[in-house]
Amino acid sequence: MSQQIDSIKSYVLVFLSLIGLTLLTTGVAFVDLGAFNTVVALAIAASKMLLVILFFMQVRHSGGLVRVVILAGFFWFALLVAFTMSDYGTRSWTPTPVPWSSMAPPTHP
């Protein structure tokens, strides 16, 4: 499918940048960024994924249909997370039943 054949150098270059990103994400974990830690970790992981998909999996050379298929896959995963969160996230908006007399609040929202 991908008639162009990338040079070994380009593969090694991608590999080294992946190693770099791994060390980066491990290093950032030792810095206290509060909630941002997760965001940064996921951003680095996403960029590593893009590197692997575009270079190692040759999606750079492949046709539009394959790209649509990949995007559909991630979009459907996002649907699952988004709509499930739409329930969990908004559950506490309407007044949850005030517990009867002095009971402790429910174990989780």
């Binding site: 206290d32 830690n37 994924m49």
Partner: protein
Amino acid sequence: MADHVNLEHATGMAHQFENLDQQQDADMLGIWLFLVTEIMFFGGVFASYAIYRWFYLPAFEGGSHILDIRLGATNTIVLLGSSLTMALSVRSAQTGNRRATVMFLILTMILGGAFLGIKGVEYHQKFVEHIVPSLDWAPEGKVLAELAPGGLQHAELYFIFYFAMTGLHALHMIIGMGLLLWLVLRARKGAFTPHYFAPVEVVGLYWHFVDIVWIFLFPLLYLIGGRY
């Protein structure tokens, strides 16, 4: 019908296709669709993990501090290395260099084995520390101190997801190793030519996908909340 059959053996083209390009396109679309089903398969457990982590962050942070970050990082690098050797084996199959294909495939299997070995060490560590949910869940000493603040129940939930996700990933690795072995045997017999190397590319894509799953597993499981 007969000429189709020996055509298949000669160039590896199946009878239902008109030409090799059509078969190659079909194979690529087929594996990518399979990888989409794998995205949704892992997606289910990642979504559940995300929701419970959002509920019980302190317990999950406690659990993640127990994991050995050095082993996790080395495992990531080992798996990235196996992805490199896999990509190089696909490249050498494309260029018709049979010896290099076999060599890189074997290298990929060695790195895959190393990853599973390190994973085995980590699992053993969990059994030693008695933090295996339901089978041997009795954390004590320093481990208990780490887990207690977030609530023991919810820490057990973290380790359920730890074992479920890394276990599923390891299972996919083992299947990948089996496929690589099958490829090595066929490559040695010279089954792959620059015109017909689809099996190597298909297993390569599967292997890269398993690597991507680990790329997300490592930060999500090992690096929650940071190590300060």
